[in-house]
Symmetry: C2
Subunit: 202 residues, 2 copies
DNA sequence: TTACCGTATAACAATATTGTCAAATTATGG
DNA sequence: CCATAATTTGACAATATTGTTATACGGTAA
């Protein structure tokens, strides 16, 4: 087993790249093999079928940004203190893997029935996470803001700009990808203040 | 030409449904024909090829929420006054066609090069739209907030919750689709206040 | 009725895609 | 070195998909 790990790596790397870009149905096994520079049969050798290869890629993608969400829910810190770190973690992840949001959302949208099982596998229990927030709400930090709405806002502000990367770059930054990235980095400092500010009664 | 319009309608309706759900590559012409209850050859009869059928669907989808964005840019109203109407328009569109965001974003992400051409076709010129905002910024309404960041925030808060529908429903509303929709409706009143509030210096 | 035109269908050809299998090649332990 | 196991390859079968073409159907107007 000298090169096995290596080729398996190459397969996953190419599969990620292409699945992210073109989706599951839009990517053929041959495409992946070509990109990896190996024989197509090897894909079946290491990953039984296309379904299983996709499954591996999808779970890896989920695993890349689910922990960020899970950690904040299970953290002992008060939410307000954890917020800046959370925002920074999410945005950094998005900058590193900008195609993941659409990839994951598209798959979950096509197969919504997968959600419950995946959440179980990822060890996420909404109830646990929320009891924590609800305590803080009682303590007055959230004011009148509904905790769920608040959570939706945070995720929206952090993730959407990456799902809409091409649109935003073209529409707001005249196609300048550098300027777009800079703007995303700025958001790491911009958002926490804005979010906390949104909790204040007008 | 007695039934031609009717079958053509059926084709587009089924194509929209399936393309939205499974994407272009994930949907076969046969799938669409079956869903429409017609012979597959008719798809080629009315729309030369799969590419052209998809193109028709995609443009129709773009047309459904681009006007909302364009109108605010070209409106004579001051932005602050227009905001509530804009938010309501976008969210209502999303509620009616919840799958469009992912569908459009996925396609634009796969083919970013299409953006410039599409923007031209839709008659959107970023520069024109922004001169307007920049005036208002000078007049002090936006405070220190960068207009582009502000715009990103508005779109994120309005659109993302629909792109992430399945996740949010499962994660925050225990799979209760009704509760999810109610929450989205609430956002129509919630967001304008929150957005304006975010402009205030802390 | 008949000739005609738009519409609909069935059959076909060409190509793509997936998964399997046997054979070849390479690495590894004795 | 040799035997064995892991890895890689080429060839194959089965199926799916797309687009075309020739034909059939149905309404309409002369």
């Amino acid at each position: 087993m000298v090169l096995s790990t290596e080729t398996e790596q190459k397969i996953v790397t190419s599969a990620e790249k292409l699945f992210y870009q073109k989706g599951k149905a839009g990517t053929s096994m041959q495409d992946i093999a070509d990109d990896a520079g190996i024989n197509r049969t090897l894909l079946n050798y290491y990953f039984r079928s296309k379904d299983q290869l996709f499954e591996a890629v999808f779970r890896k993608a989920m695993g890349r940004f689910v922990p960020g969400l899970a950690s904040v829910m299970q953290s002992d810190m008060r939410f307000s203190a954890y917020l800046p770190h959370m925002v920074e973690t999410i945005i950094d992840t998005m900058i590193e893997h900008p195609q993941i949001p659409i990839f994951v959302l598209q798959e979950l949208s096509s197969n919504p029935n997968r959600m419950p099982q995946i959440m179980r596998e990822m060890g996420i229990d909404p109830r646990v996470g929320f009891s924590k927030f609800e305590e803080e709400q009682v303590s007055g930090i959230f004011g009148r803001m509904d905790v769920r709405q608040f959570f939706i806002n945070v995720l929206s502000l952090c993730i959407f700009p990456f799902a809409a990367r091409s649109v935003i770059t073209e529409l707001l930054y005249n196609g300048d990808g550098e300027a777009y990235i800079d703007a995303m980095k700025q958001r790491k400092k911009l958002l926490p203040a804005l979010i906390m500010n949104s909790l204040t009664e007008k």
